[in-house]
Symmetry: C2
Subunit: 351 residues, 2 copies
Amino acid sequence: MTRIAIDAMGGDHAPHEIVAGAVWAAQEYGVAIELVGKQDRIEQELDRISNEGFYSDCGKAGKQYKLKIDTSKLDIKITHASEIIEMGEAPGQAIRKKKKSSIVLAVDAVATGSSDAVVAAGSTGAAMASSLFGLGRIPGIDRPAIAVTLPTIKKPIVVIDGGANSNCTPEMLYQFAIMGATFSKNVLGIEHPRIGVLNIGEEAGKGNELAQATYKLLEEHSGKLNFVGNIEGKEIFLSLCDVVVCDGFVGNVALKVTEGTSSMLFRMLKQEFKADLMGKIIGLLAKPFMKRIYTKINYEEFGGALLLGVKGITVISHGRSKAYAIKNAVRVAKNAVETGVNEKIAKFYEE
Amino acid sequence: MTRIAIDAMGGDHAPHEIVAGAVWAAQEYGVAIELVGKQDRIEQELDRISNEGFYSDCGKAGKQYKLKIDTSKLDIKITHASEIIEMGEAPGQAIRKKKKSSIVLAVDAVATGSSDAVVAAGSTGAAMASSLFGLGRIPGIDRPAIAVTLPTIKKPIVVIDGGANSNCTPEMLYQFAIMGATFSKNVLGIEHPRIGVLNIGEEAGKGNELAQATYKLLEEHSGKLNFVGNIEGKEIFLSLCDVVVCDGFVGNVALKVTEGTSSMLFRMLKQEFKADLMGKIIGLLAKPFMKRIYTKINYEEFGGALLLGVKGITVISHGRSKAYAIKNAVRVAKNAVETGVNEKIAKFYEE
């Protein structure tokens, strides 16, 4: 049985929503769980879910859930961690100083084989640093990167790097392309995933030095990868490629702009409907349709992004994750374990 | 009377929509117009507008317009240009080779004082290169930048650079901040505009080397500028600052992602409404509300972006601009001339 370690203390709603999401996933996906964090707090949450039940509002999608699950019937292990790494701490320093922190011990659980993957909703920097330090890099990969799955009009695409590396070289972006393609093929099931370089124009000569050099490098290696050229920001959602390659700074800006734009549009639409009585009525009628869109594009559905390039599976969840998002993050971790995405990245370099 | 030169041959819908937009602006804003391009084609379009009238569908906002304007009553001058710079051409080379091209001569019109500003919807690179070459830089500014005005929940913000410079230094971004603030204050009327650096986190140490160094530089000069720190992609639309400073690569990606995200959401919503008969009816009822949002965020309303840092006003319009967008671009040009934004940028350096 696949076992997923979860940093129970990481995230804005830790530990209650995190523990609830983990229990929910154990029940829904039939996985074993290893909850890492303050033992008494975790036990308290497990008791609550077993006895009183737990309400979650599933974040912005607005759905209400009640979880009343007999946790004694599930395969749940608790690993006590006495420390917590806070959001503001410098990641490198923090993981060296706080060896007994929940994120460090959750990664340790994967390193020692106690669990198969880790899910973390706390500091992204700390999750990356402890994964890099605790699991090590896959041979051939210089820097791990975050692979974020995004909805489009047709099928989901992968944006890599979603924010792990702010300063990149063309060689790093080439490696991101390899990792992204392997993820797209094995986890999302897309045959011959098309790789695009995020750029500000179609032509090879467009963009900054990094984008230009990456274009050349991918063109040279086009026998190994299905490189389709540059892709512009407005084309990301048109399914013109399956993997969008960029540095972590640009990738993170792009992802957050997507989030910001959709929030603004939904807010504007709500405001518009409030203008008069007729609008209010039409707004009420249109609400379920808008909600369905919201569900489609909501990060909670995707649960988390994979940190690729380390020898182990780390799923990084949004800091705002509630139980529903954590449940889905566990699903992402389970899929990554079962499809052996890391072994396949390693294999790419052996061939 | 303010006179605006217009590259009549630039853009996907040149010359017919461009000429129509220029005439429309002349009538609506009481400006004089200098149309630069193939004389016979321009005359043909002017005749059509005077006699048969001209239909424009105003791009995506979907509104239909009929323009039947007696062009002989307006102050319209034609300057013949025998050449056109095409979209694919390398800008630097093209402006040197095609000295009689419509964009080069339109910028010349400003340089010689025949017009006060230029509006261009053709190749952005060619418009920038000919402006830099034909008008020269404002002392103190190393590289001109594109200031794009974006709608937010509250008031419009300025993103600078929107795509002129893919590779930037912190000093360049500092200059963008000065230009953006001057634009925000004088053209948008925002007192003490708040400057933010586009970044992937709030803290000073976040982001790539460029963002970190720019943060420091702006902090050092905070006496002259109202610097409020880093701003994340998802916060752009929350009115947390008035000027978002970034390099042209990141800025262009961010702007195009905004465009791509809103297109996708509107498409998804339309699809959702099509699901069944009830949906179709609700969709029809909701349509005017959605259109109002579309109008608010539509680039056509903003007409064009200002190229700041050159000794003259150049407004760069979307390549897809139709008459309505061109009309609004002329308004932007007129405002920039009348508020003397360039003189005020120059003055910043004199003080």
